[in-house]
Symmetry: C2
């Protein structure tokens, strides 16, 4: 995401917070901005490391609380992930996922060709909103032609 895009998002973010009656604290802004700047769907702990230099007094509990708050507002997404920690993403645009079947790492990709696929509408008891594609395979590091981890 370009710096310009980020600033525009941060501004919208401010509005959205005000609408919802949330204070605009430096912590919230910094955490949100850091999430936008992270392309790698960070875990709370990773986000914490990233934000700490700017806000040395920040606590990990605040990261958790903030992420939960923002997820409820729909400003960030909590992602389904494997492994034992939660993952978050500030990119709410249409995008798909590459999942490495060996190391479990996930990254984003976009493909206009795939965007044409419509969510199936006839599923009983489920109201489809949108759809994301997970492509499973081997990432660069685990590449084809390697033995194991």
């Amino acid at each position: 995401m370009t710096p310009r895009e980020i600033e525009s998002r941060v501004e919208q973010f401010g509005q959205r917070c005000r609408e919802a009656g949330l204070s605009l604290t430096p912590q919230r802004l910094t955490i949100y901005r850091a999430l936008l700047e992270s392309a790698d769907r960070p875990a709370p702990e990773a986000l914490y490391s990233r934000v700490r230099p700017a806000l040395p007094s920040l606590s990990l509990a605040t990261i958790y609380k903030t992420l939960d708050t923002l997820a409820q507002l729909g400003l960030v997404a909590e992602l389904p992930a494997t492994g034992s920690s939660r993952r978050f993403d500030g990119n709410m645009e249409r995008h798909h996922h590459l999942v490495c079947t060996r190391c479990g790492r996930v990254s984003d990709f976009s493909d206009p060709g795939l965007d044409g696929i419509a969510p199936p509408s006839g599923i009983k008891g489920f109201t489809a909103q949108h759809l994301a594609i997970h492509v499973h395979g081997l990432c660069r590091e685990c590449g084809p032609g390697r033995a194991g981890h």
Copy 2:
């Protein structure tokens, strides 16, 4: 899954373990079978409760170790999930996922129409193997026209 299918899978499972040099312990067999019998993608703890009646001395650590071992062999799948515990599935067939954007619950569905979609091949640094579709929306409980959780 029918009992007959389950037995056939368990048999294949035995072969696969032998090939890999793994012992066929009662714990492993029971855990694997319990997973096949569970349609609900259980967390380790839930699987533990299910298996305990049959193996009262079983420990939770064994569940974790076993699931990791079997996942590495490709005999069970660890699923991406939101929330704070890992989820596993013994169903390795082609299927897709319904993810509730409100409560986070995930369930399986199949749709032959979607099975035709080929994994995109031109992604740089990534070798695509297969693809799964996540349909996001509202499940029956959270249904459209509800206020919140």
